[in-house]
Symmetry: C2
Subunit: 342 residues, 2 copies
DNA sequence: GTGAAAGCGCTAACAC
DNA sequence: GTGTTAGCGCTTTCAC
């Protein structure tokens, strides 16, 4: 294979090949200003023949826009984030933007660092699933200094930023209310780390459902999972591996649900007889498991798409106050929550 | 919230604030050349105070390196690719690189387009799961013109490019041999699109196992799935929804396995009694399903990490011939393949 | 050790 | 319509 040292053809190269000035070639290539048909043709022919590819970096430097948007998620391996990423990619690519991706591992320092790196690379905007409910000042400052930020998944009512979230409290409440309705009184809950803002809302929904049913809130029934399936597994074991175990479980995220399923299997318990289960966030095999898993489904891809859309609008000049999009969740009752209990 | 128009502090801004020349400030900031301690301190203090952030774009323009690598996968929503992406990200971020991500949807035209877009953005290198076994000339030309390319997941023996793949044929053969060993004679196979190079190898492994056992190859038992779970489901239905259905099924990819599980459930069949199942590629709930699913597991994250490593080596100047890394697979026998049959 | 000046590849005034 | 010229923000000679 020949080594073509055609590392970087520039506008000037094309210009001389076409016998016009650099500016004319640039105009023809960039499709702006006015160029005579003859000149344009010569330029395009030369570009084509030589295999010219525009250096977007140089263009971005002068234009002040890279057509690149940064996405910061906890972990792209998490199917939730993967689907969000896909949604974002779909929404922005129609406008010619590309995704710069970073994982934060749900760690605030890493998140900060990722945001810094992305900003240094001059992303036009940022979409962030922030791991902190507290300190998003670095995101607000990005936004106010010209790099719009859209927050996703985790509500942040105090932040002056566009956000796309789902109805966490309502979704969780529906899940728990459903468990109560079929007869459960002791319902365990496996939550995300409390720093993650949606975790709070889901726990709130859990409490609201208990309240409404006149049930006591019992701290013992709340276990904090972590960002991995293994964390969820451990949490569930803690919750279930004892005599007075809850009769039902609400898992507040997809990985928590995976972990719980794994723990339940390990303990040899049967769903829903030994323990009923409702999870937040649907997943590919939920319908296939025996029994199928009851879930609060959320429009994951749409979260990404909406975030992309809001961001593109900001980039197009939208100046209004923060928009907060709340997407609906839906309780999908399948077998794991069980029929009515005596 | 105040709008700080501090959109872009430049080296010159810092230089004047520190009372030194632009060049000195740049040296202090960029940590190169020689700067007196006094000057350095003044510059760093000013940079810190004013909140200077280096414009990596401008730096990249002159350095000719963006510290960015492009990753092209079929679909980031596919857990396989998500894990690969994570592996790549982990491998390259230690060197300060960032991931530019693009989905090809397993379409060659989209893949080409993505590669073009990524190259225009001056990525330092590319990692690609190519959807074509035939035409990778555009990737070879990228490589020979200075943008190294590492191919992943799909073997491409004719391409003059580094590749990271797994032992597809051996893995598939082990899976099918195992099914034969426990007594199956009619084994259906759900493959990926034939354009995808790994699909060929896995099918080859399937045939090899049959051959070795003296079993006839029956075209009727081969069904081509597609890149989605739904495709796998449809394929499986075609295979199983008839009287002379195979007694066992080998699904050649994770989404195919998902689809098969869904179809089997829909048909009301029991695993492994009505139909035994072995899938290529492990997945989170494989152990949790009843019965747990027997799989050929592959080191997915490691594929990404190896690819990242190979690419970094090329970027560091490695000049040798194409390296072809083959990672081992492992047959993990669980319940779905059944015990010995009469 | 430091500054002045050139240049990465492109866009954008501004003349002609 | 076209060419000349001046930058975008940075790195990098090259004098001093």
């Amino acid at each position: 294979m020949a080594i073509l040292p055609s590392v970087g053809l520039t506008v000037s190269d094309i210009a001389s090949a076409a016998g016009v000035s650099q500016a004319t070639a640039a105009r023809a290539l960039g499709n702006y200003g006015s160029v005579s048909d003859g000149a344009r043709e010569k330029v395009l022919e030369a570009a084509n023949r030589l295999g010219y590819r525009r250096n977007e970096l140089a263009a971005a430097l002068v234009a002040g826009s890279t057509q690149t948007i940064g996405l910061v998620v906890g972990d792209i391996e998490n199917p939730f984030f993967a689907t969000v990423a896909r949604g974002v990619a779909d929404a922005i690519e129609v406008e010619g933007h590309t995704l710069l991706l970073a994982n934060s591992d749900e760690d605030l320092e890493r998140e900060r660092h990722a945001v810094e790196a992305l900003r240094s690379r001059q992303v036009d905007g940022l979409i962030v699933a922030s791991s902190s409910a507290e300190d998003v000042s670095f995101l607000e400052s990005a936004s106010s200094s010209g790099t719009p930020v859209v927050l996703i998944d985790r509500p942040m009512p105090d932040a002056e930023l566009d956000t796309v979230t789902v109805e966490n409290a309502a979704g969780a409440e529906a899940a728990v209310a459903h468990l109560i309705e079929v007869g459960h009184r002791r319902i365990g809950v496996l939550t995300d780390q409390p720093e993650i803002a949606s975790a709070g809302e889901r726990l709130e929904g859990y409490r609201a459902a208990l309240d409404r049913a006149g049930l006591e809130f019992d701290e013992e029934l709340v276990v904090e999972g972590g960002p991995s399936q293994e964390d969820g597994r451990r949490g569930t074991l803690k919750l279930l591996d004892r005599p007075d175990r809850p009769t039902a479980l609400f898992t507040a995220s997809n990985l928590a649900t995976y972990g719980a399923l794994s723990a339940i299997a390990a303990l040899g318990l049967t769903i829903p007889d030994d323990v009923a289960l409702v999870g937040f966030d649907d997943f590919p095999l939920a319908e296939v498991l025996a029994p199928p898993i009851t879930v609060v489904s959320q429009p994951v891809s749409q979260i990404g798409q909406e975030a992309g859309r809001l961001l593109l609008e900001r980039l197009a000049g939208e100046q209004g106050p923060p928009r907060r999009v709340r997407l609906k969740t839906e309780l999908t009752v399948r077998g794991s929550s069980g029929g009515p209990r005596s």
